[in-house]
């Protein structure tokens, strides 16, 4: 593997536990000319707001940004499907010269009349700022004319990283929060935040909390509805998953409405159970019996899944895995999940981890584990081969790399159609890992042939 060199300027974003001092460089912009697996500001906003199913999502810019994001995510809605449409102002050369404002106003007008959404989000893409379109004014005017919230999302692709896109999305939502009536909201109430209802995961989580006797006011933004977001400030607690994406909104709500928040993860038995217990803990004074209910729930669910997981563990024990995900927080859960299956994580990384995230990661990992920030296919493949992994957990962009090298793969990104959260999701995860790691097709991989 000597032929693979690490780019100058990226050495500090790669760390092998035990071998070096730990001072991870991260939260940097991707290096020009490296093949980052990251996306852009627009992408960040789009993923957060995407699952709001009764809102219109209009992308103001040339066609690409809309085309590439048309119904590619597994975020389900129990009702309206408007979020699965792809709307674009499809700016042309003359719009770049003369401005796209008229086009945007007219598009909004027609689309709102046609689809009758409960709100509209207008995404600014790269060139919108440059050509000087005043989308705030246009949105305001449309809002007044149509009588629904029309919210600008300042997601010009180049103005930061994906994280800035998260923030822009939170800013837009913050304009909705607090505008609805909270008179029916009880004291044992939460918002589920950072949960996008991929393959119906929010429904599963919501069901757990409801069985504990808790009212879920709003899910941000899985199976999202404008009305629920408007009244979400009535909830007593914000339960935040996917720390990066919605933390701004949670902080905003803490400051503005005094709503406290806790951070959780729903992946794996350990973290899922903790997510329930932490909420129970929060409400145990208001509702003394909640802890018992939670214990009963956890016991019941674990009892169902444990024997099945044991079977998979027998097949997977001792195999090595690599993890590369968007947010680092998810990586923590995944390491535990893979350990539940008897597997060792030998490579872990994220696109957007913070220094603290990487510290936690380091503490969790065994000696020898490689930790990477904002990696590229060359680096990921290099360490996967060196470490001899049988499984790579990542997103669509990592998939072909894994397959090329004869490595099993599990899609843990938002394009997946498989529910991985909650207790049942752990079974799905185990089954998915098992299906890929033990498939007989790998016997034909040239790397295997050479090894044998």
């Amino acid at each position: 593997m000597s032929s693979i060199s690490i780019l100058k300027g990226r050495e500090q974003q790669i760390y092998q536990k035990g071998s070096q001092d730990f001072d991870m460089s991260c939260e940097k912009k991707s290096l020009a000319g490296s093949i980052s697996q990251r996306a852009c500001v627009f992408c960040g906003s789009r993923v957060v707001l995407y699952p709001i199913a009764d809102a219109l999502h209009l992308i103001h810019g040339p066609i690409g940004c809309a085309s590439y994001t048309w119904d590619i995510r597994g975020a389900l809605s129990s009702g309206p499907q408007l979020h699965r449409m792809s709307f674009s102002t499809d700016l042309q050369e003359k719009d770049i010269i003369f401005g796209g404002e008229k086009k945007l106003a007219s598009a909004l007008d027609t689309l709102i009349d046609t689809y009758k959404p409960k709100a509209a989000f207008v995404y600014a893409t790269c060139i919108v700022g440059l050509i000087g379109d005043d989308i705030d004014a246009i949105c305001k005017k449309a809002s007044q004319e149509k009588g629904i919230p029309v919210l600008p999302v300042h997601s010009e692709g180049f103005k930061g990283t994906k994280k800035d896109g998260y923030k822009a999305a939170c800013d837009a939502m913050a304009n909705l929060v607090g505008t609805g009536s909270v008179k029916d909201v009880g004291p044992l109430s939460i918002n589920i935040m950072g949960e996008f209802n991929i393959a119906g995961e929010a429904w599963i989580i919501r069901d757990y909390y409801e069985r504990m006797g808790i009212e879920v006011v709003s899910v941000f933004t899985g199976d999202g509805r404008v009305e629920n977001i408007k009244r979400s400030h009535g909830a007593a607690l914000n339960v935040v998953q996917c720390s990066g994406s919605v933390i701004h909104l949670a902080q905003h709500m803490l400051e503005r409405y005094g709503t406290p928040f806790i951070r959780v993860s729903y992946f794996g038995i350990e973290d899922m159970s903790k997510a329930l217990y932490d909420v129970a803990e929060h409400f145990k004074d208001t509702c003394p019996e909640i802890m018992q209910r939670t214990q009963a729930l956890v016991r019941e669910e674990v009892k169902k899944v444990y024997p099945i997981l044991k079977q998979y563990k027998q097949k997977l024990k001792g195999k090595k895995a690599a993890i590369y995900v968007g947010g680092a927080f998810k990586a923590f859960s995944m390491i535990k999940q893979l350990r539940t299956l008897g597997m060792d994580v030998v490579l872990a990384g994220s696109q957007t981890g913070t220094k603290e995230d990487y510290q936690v990661l380091r503490d969790m990992c065994d000696d020898g584990t490689v930790i990477v920030d904002d990696a590229n296919p060359v680096e990921l493949s290099k360490y996967s081969i060196e470490k001899g992994v049988s499984l790579f957990v990542g997103g669509v962009k990592e998939r072909p790399m894994a397959f090329k090298l004869g490595i099993g793969f599990c899609d843990h990104n938002h394009e997946r159609k498989l529910s991985l959260a909650g207790y049942g999701g752990m079974i799905n995860f185990a089954r998915e890992v098992y299906a890929s790691v033990t498939s007989p097709v790998w016997q034909f991989a040239p790397r295997k042939t050479i090894e044998n």
Binding site: M1, S5, K29, S30, A32, G33, S34, I35, S36, Q37, R38, A39, C40, V41, F42, C43, G61, P62, I63, G64, S67, Y68, D71, M85, S86, F87, T89, D90, L91, Q92, E93, I96, K102, A107, D109, T110, T125, C126, I127, L130, I131, G157, F158, K159, T161, P377, V378, K382, V396, K397, R399, P400, M401, F403, K404, L405, A445, P446, R447, I450
Partner: protein
């Protein structure tokens, strides 16, 4: 007044097109030892990579110059140069293919001068060639980006060197790796060298590896592109393309190389044109193998003609693909009731008239520059038996409960999009069998009787 505005500025809903940097990236991916580099923000290359990966199931590394806010203010020159440096360090490419984006175009970066200035300051025999092409997302579609990149590459590299045996330049347009392999096989059987550009037959449909290849093997060799200035002739596929300032025309103007602008060879008639063209330009006979394939195909047409006769189809996708498919459908007796494209060349209907007999009698509806919401509305009205096009029509097919025959790009909901052969007698055979059997299956499955003998 307001009504008029609505008509003028309507939103595009579920676009039937992609942006031009995607097309350029695809072309650069089809040149040997080349890295595509998009001059813009990180999202462009990441979105395009993911979109291409989901079709080809292959690694698709596309670099980005990774604009920041400062870049937008002070110009992208420094970023672009840094990107080139980094690419050279990590990939050691023979060529870097740069496509612009709406962002770099809008701030007015002059990529050509940046590249020139870079080259001046880095004069070194081992430096890769650099080709740049203007592909702002707000201008045209992915097809325009594709053709622009082909032309820019040829313009930058092709030379007259008086090489003997320089073969034939071949510009296949945007087709599948399997199509490209089939073209290569045809040229091999003719015994004539083929300078095909692009050629992602291996780079986007390759074998597994023992270690990661930063750049996949295969692709059009740079020296074959250079040699294009000496070729016997150029053949360029696409009836709409032939209306543009194309690579073939460029070579004709620059070096006097005869250019054959013909249709995509889909179906017997358009494939015959290609073979006749190859025979004429090389002076060699059509290899026996293709006579046999053609003869068996005609025999199959006869066997299946009644199942498909006057079946009604909705065809959509890139304009030249639509024309090729429509030509094929017409020759087997299917009525191409609706032909639609997100592209907007202004030539679609005229070109369709060239390939469809009794165009008016068949009451064919042609739509340019439309999106899937518009296609869906029109499709319902023509009451089709099936739709034929890329995966993105699945939603309307599903709503109409009509079968969708998947061809072209992207195929995101089936495996093997890269392996579809659209062209040649072989491609027509597969399309014919698929269409016939789709119709038979619909009939069989919806029948209360359930025969196994059709």
């Amino acid at each position: 007044m307001k009504t008029q505005e609505k008509v003028e500025y309507k939103a595009t809903s579920n676009a039937c097109k992609l942006c031009s940097p995607l097309g350029a990236s695809l072309v650069f991916r089809g040149i040997e030892n080349t890295v595509p580099l998009l001059h813009g923000s990180q999202g462009c290359s990441t979105y395009i990579r993911r979109y291409l990966i989901s079709h080809f199931n292959e690694p698709v590394d596309i670099a980005s110059s990774n604009f920041t806010e400062e870049t937008a203010v002070f110009g992208g020159g420094a970023n672009l140069k840094l990107a080139i440096d980094n690419l050279i360090q990590q990939y050691r490419p023979a060529l870097i293919g740069i496509g612009t984006t709406c962002l770099s175009e809008t701030i007015g970066d002059d990529v050509e001068s940046i590249v020139k200035s870079y080259a001046r300051n880095n004069a070194d025999g081992n430096r890769p060639a650099i080709v740049s092409v203007s592909t702002p997302s707000y201008s045209g579609t992915h097809v325009d980006g594709f053709h622009a990149a082909v032309k820019a590459t040829v313009d930058a590299l092709a030379e007259k060197q008086d090489r003997p045996d320089a073969g034939i330049n071949f510009f296949p347009g945007m087709l599948s790796p399997a199509d490209y392999r089939h073209f290569q096989e045809i040229f091999d059987d003719f015994g004539i060298p083929c300078n095909m550009l692009p050629d992602y037959s291996q780079t986007l449909d390759g074998p597994m590896w023992t270690q990661y290849h930063k750049i996949p093997q295969g692709g059009a060799p740079v020296k074959r592109i250079t040699a294009m200035g000496d070729a016997l002739a150029s053949i360029e596929l696409g009836r709409v393309l032939s209306e543009t300032k194309s690579a073939g025309k460029l070579l004709s103007e620059k070096f006097g190389i005869p250019n054959y602008g013909i249709g995509m060879p889909i179906g017997i008639k358009e494939t015959d044109v290609l073979f006749d063209c190859l025979a004429a330009s090389t002076g060699r006979p059509i290899p026996e193998k293709y006579h046999q394939e053609r003869a068996r195909l005609i025999d199959a047409y006869a066997d299946g003609h009644k199942y498909v006769f006057e079946a009604r189809a909705v065809v959509y996708g890139e304009e030249d693909l639509v024309i090729g498919i429509t030509s094929f459908l017409s020759e087997i007796g299917v009525v191409p009731a609706l032909c639609a494209s997100g592209g907007k060349s202004g030539h679609l209907e005229a070109k369709l008239r060239q390939v469809v007999a009794d165009f008016d009698e068949k009451q064919i509806q042609v739509m340019e520059g439309v999106d899937f919401v518009e296609i869906g509305k029109a499709a319902r009205k023509v009451n089709p038996d099936f739709l034929i096009g890329n995966s993105k029509g699945y939603k309307i097919a599903r709503e109409m409960q009509k079968p969708l025959i998947r061809i072209g790009f992207p195929i995101h909901d089936r495996m093997g999009g890269a392996r579809i052969v659209h062209v040649g007698y072989r491609g027509a055979q597969q399309l014919f069998d698929t269409i016939t059997n789709t119709i038979i299956a619909s009939k069989q499955d919806s029948s209360a009787v359930g025969y196994f003998y059709m």
